[in-house]
């Protein structure tokens, strides 16, 4: 029996009877067994629940009740998505032991699609970080080099998919938290158009920027997973009612006749030469395939990072206020209610979370609001206008996903600003609400993956996936990480 590598392949194998959902799950659990000690991609593997779901999926399929391409496929969830009856911590001490009484809408969608939920993956606490080192339960590591970070904040999901301990995973992307780890782990990561995937049940970091999306090994798999989770949700007031594009409609259609913009501002100082040349090579190939390539300038991208680091912490300061020890999670007692709340939060939150809550509280304070939060909102409007203008001229924008390949564990933990720069290429799409995705295009000389970012206008997923599929084909990237296996 050979286990396929991709969701699409596994879906075919399930239907031709060469594998069962239980086989797929066992292969994933075996991979996890061999690699978790080195990677720490998961916070919690739900072996019993997953086995029951896989058996049910097999029985369902045998009964002729085919739920579609995700049926029987083992999927991992970033641990900031609520799962009924399964501990959900957002990698924070403050939610240690917290078991939600309800499923996030994406979880319901996955269950309805017949997916098998393997477990909950590691992340930077409350999705605040770019390396998965800010987890209260210990960092995750990169399957391509276990001395390096997998990126973040969805580093656990990306590492699990790269290592083969899940066929696909969901991440959340507030400033690049799906795309940057996908880039650093050689996987495909998609941040869909804001509002297309319900945020109900996603533990909020920054509500106006957060968006759930897939991390997979191929572009096609990403389209399949995205189609299973998106759609209008009446429980999310910011949910897009429709109609929705078909991300898989133009896979394989090539790029002939498309206009591709190369963003001038996302290059230069701070970008590794290997990354820049890999991206330039890919752009040249796309041109050879018939795309029109133009250099475009989006001056507002230069100040996107500053705006982001006011808006995201401001929203976070309010979103995280509910973690107070009163109703659930950690409680550290005090003489008064106020003291109990302060102690709970002081002990329950890690340093990066506290830094951002303080930053955000300050940005919203009377007398500072206009200069900080108000100004950041004006920058955001300028970015939207800039992007809208450029998308009048080109179909997609391309850039590196991350200025660098995976960096060494610990290299940036004491330098928040260097860490924040990891997201310089990904943040603009969160601020504009537009979709963007990362596709692996090769390895640098150290054998570390390089990601290529494709950005599209809102609801432009069909064209985005079309370009991404062509990038994938042209790159011919099929390397798999070799993870030193520790005898178990």
């Amino acid at each position: 029996m050979s286990i396929p590598n991709t969701i699409a392949g596994a879906a075919r194998a399930l239907r031709d009877g060469s594998v069962t959902a239980v086989d797929l799950l066992e292969s994933v659990l075996e991979r996890a067994h061999l690699t978790e000690a080195q990677l720490h991609a998961y916070l919690n593997i739900d072996r019993d629940g997953a086995r029951a779901a896989a058996e049910a999926a097999d029985a369902d399929l045998a009964a002729g009740n085919d739920r579609g391409p995700l049926h029987g496929i083992p999927i991992a969830l970033k641990d900031n998505m609520c799962t009924r009856g399964l501990e959900t911590t957002a990698a924070s001490q403050i939610l240690a032991g917290y078991v939600p009484p309800y499923d996030a809408t994406v979880v319901t969608s996955l269950r309805e699609a017949g997916a098998v939920i393997v477990g909950k993956t590691n992340l930077d606490e409350f999705a605040m970080g770019s390396s998965t080192e800010n987890s209260a339960y210990g960092p995750s590591f990169n399957p391509w080099d276990i001395t390096r970070v997998p990126g973040g904040s969805s580093g656990g999901s990306a590492a699990a998919v790269a290592a083969g301990s899940a066929f696909g995973a969901l991440g959340s992307d507030t400033g690049g938290s799906i795309r940057q780890p996908a880039s650093l782990t050689g996987t495909v990561g998609v941040k869909p158009t804001y509002g297309t995937v319900s945020r109900y049940g996603l533990i909020a970091f920054a509500s106006s920027l957060d968006q759930i999306g897939p991390i997979t090994r191929t572009v096609e798999d990403a389209a399949l997973l995205l189609q299973a989770i998106w759609g209008h949700d009446p429980k999310d007031a910011t949910s897009y009612p429709g109609p929705y594009p078909d991300p898989a409609a133009s896979l394989g259609a090539g790029v002939d006749g498309l206009r591709i913009g190369v963003v001038t501002e996302l290059a230069g100082e701070g970008y590794e030469p290997a990354v820049e040349s890999a991206v330039a090579d890919m752009v040249a190939k796309l041109q050879e395939e018939g795309a029109t390539v133009v250099e475009v300038s989006l001056p507002s991208f230069e100040i996107a990072l500053s705006a982001y680091y006011l808006i995201a912490p401001a929203e976070a300061s309010s979103n995280l206020a509910r973690f107070d020890g009163v109703r659930y999670g950690l409680r550290v007692d005090g003489e008064t209610t106020e003291e109990m709340m302060a102690r709970t939060r002081g002990q329950g939150f890690g340093p990066e979370v506290i830094r951002r809550v303080l930053l955000g509280t300050y940005a919203l304070s009377a007398g500072y609001y206009d200069a900080f939060y108000g100004q950041a909102q004006r920058v955001r409007a300028a970015i939207r206008a800039d992007v809208a203008r450029v998308f009048g001229e080109v179909d997609v924008l391309v850039s590196p996903t991350s200025p660098t390949v995976a960096f060494s564990a610990g290299a940036r933990v004491d330098d928040p600003l260097a860490m924040y720069l990891s997201d310089i290429c990904t943040i603009p799409s969160n601020l504009s609400g537009d979709p963007a995705m990362s596709v692996p295009i090769g390895l640098d000389e150290q054998g570390l993956p390089i990601g290529f970012q494709v950005m599209a206008p809102s609801l432009g997923e069909e064209t985005m996936f079309r370009v991404a599929a062509e990038v994938e084909r042209l790159a011919g990237f099929d390397a798999r990480p070799e993870i030193p296996v520790v005898a178990g």
């Binding site: 900031n80 998505m81 609520c82 959900t88 957002a90 939610l95 917290y98 939600p100 009484p101 309800y102 996030a104 945020r199 109900y200 049940g201 996603l202 533990i203 909020a204 920054a206 509500s207 106006s208 009446p234 429980k235 999310d236 007031a237 910011t238 401001a314 929203e315 300061s317 309010s318 206020a321 509910r322 973690f323 107070d324 009163v326 109703r327 659930y328 209610t337 106020e338 709340m341 509280t361 919203l364 304070s365 009377a366 609001y369 939060y373």
Partner: protein, 482 residues
Amino acid sequence: MSWEAVIGIETHVELSTRSKMFCGCVVDFGAAPNTNVCPVCLGLPGALPVPNRKAIEGIIAIGLALNCEITERSVFHRKNYFYADLPKNYQISQYDVPVCHDGHLDVEVDGQTRRVGIERAHMEEDTGKSTHVGDGGRIDAASATLLDFNRSGVPLVEVVSRPDIRSAAEARVYAQELRAIVAELGVSDARLEEGSIRFDANVSIRPEGSEELGTKVEIKNMNSFRSLERAIEFEIARQIAAVEAGEELVQETRHWDEEAGETLSMRTKEGSSDYRYFADPDLVPLVVPADWVEEIRSTLPELPEQRRKRYAGLGLDPKSAEILSASSPVIRGLFDDALDAGAPAPAAFNWLTGEVTAWMRRTESEPSNLTGVRVAALIELVDTGVVSATAAKEVLEGVLAGEGEPRAVAEARDLVQVSDRGELAGAVEEVLAANSDAVERYRGGEEKVIGFLVGQVMRQTGGKADPKLVNELIRESLAGNG
């Protein structure tokens, strides 16, 4: 120096929608603690708010009734503060772009109409309820705090008046009128004692003629219109006394102590709270298209002020118009129907707010056998002398008891007056013959003796004679013989 009070009222109205403002939980205050709760109103991680359309209709109705402009795109903001019964530690409210703004409410005080500006009416959610147990229920001495989140997320409308009110009496009338409007709209139970409508007052004083605003004090915890008036009266006097004694007033919140009859400082740090308002990113702007507003406007009931004006136009004096306007819908409905059936307004008013209302109170039942047509018929029986005013009360009793039409009741109960001249003439002659003394005295100029003679005829006829007609017949008879 003579002082002027400057008063503004903030009113919280709890809407009586079936479900909460941002989730599907049932609104039910009688329920066991924490039974009407869900991830949204408990502020669980990941839960998101979705606005309740019925609540929006409620605030638009209130806004229209208060002559407000309705904002086409209003914005929900987060008001951030930490409190144990506030599950998210922020309240979803509105800040600079409320649903309703710039309205007014006309109130009548001592026969004068005063216009009170309405600055705004905005939509927000209620908090949970804290109960401090042990040591007298005071938070600083409590051994534990019990939290009930059934109220968490119940839709609240806050109506903010402009500081246009100048006396405690005006404030009371404003509050009563606002309560009457909200009750009439049917959007809230509007019960003060249960807290479904709550009034806070902002009070300051300034020298008469001054345009500047003095230091503002907010007073809370008034559970009746009377305590609202008393609290404001006390506060005005306290402030004047303080200023005249050379003290500096501080901006603060004071608590009305009903028993002591005074306001007490709550000793909270005022001005230090910074709610860090910002637009709630979980919600999109609230869009209220003009046709929705018009649809709601077309379903608005007649409001107390309109009703008073209409009653006055029908010939009721202002006091009666006000009494009737504040009467129950049953009484008002009967009034309108009686007028349609031809009854004169003052008589219909007297019967309905007098006898009928008294009967309802006495029997604790609805006048289901009474109709406007029957009210009009009863009045006509009196006006045409068929029954006496006294007998009419008995007729009404019969009608209310289900004995049929007023005329039939009068006949069945043998209450019809004898109004036939021929029939009465005999009785009059008999009485005059039997009372020659009195007849002599009358002829001697003692006018009032006629009352005695009428009484004798009434007695003779068993009370059924029409006294007016008897009076007339006696006069005629005595004049003719003279």
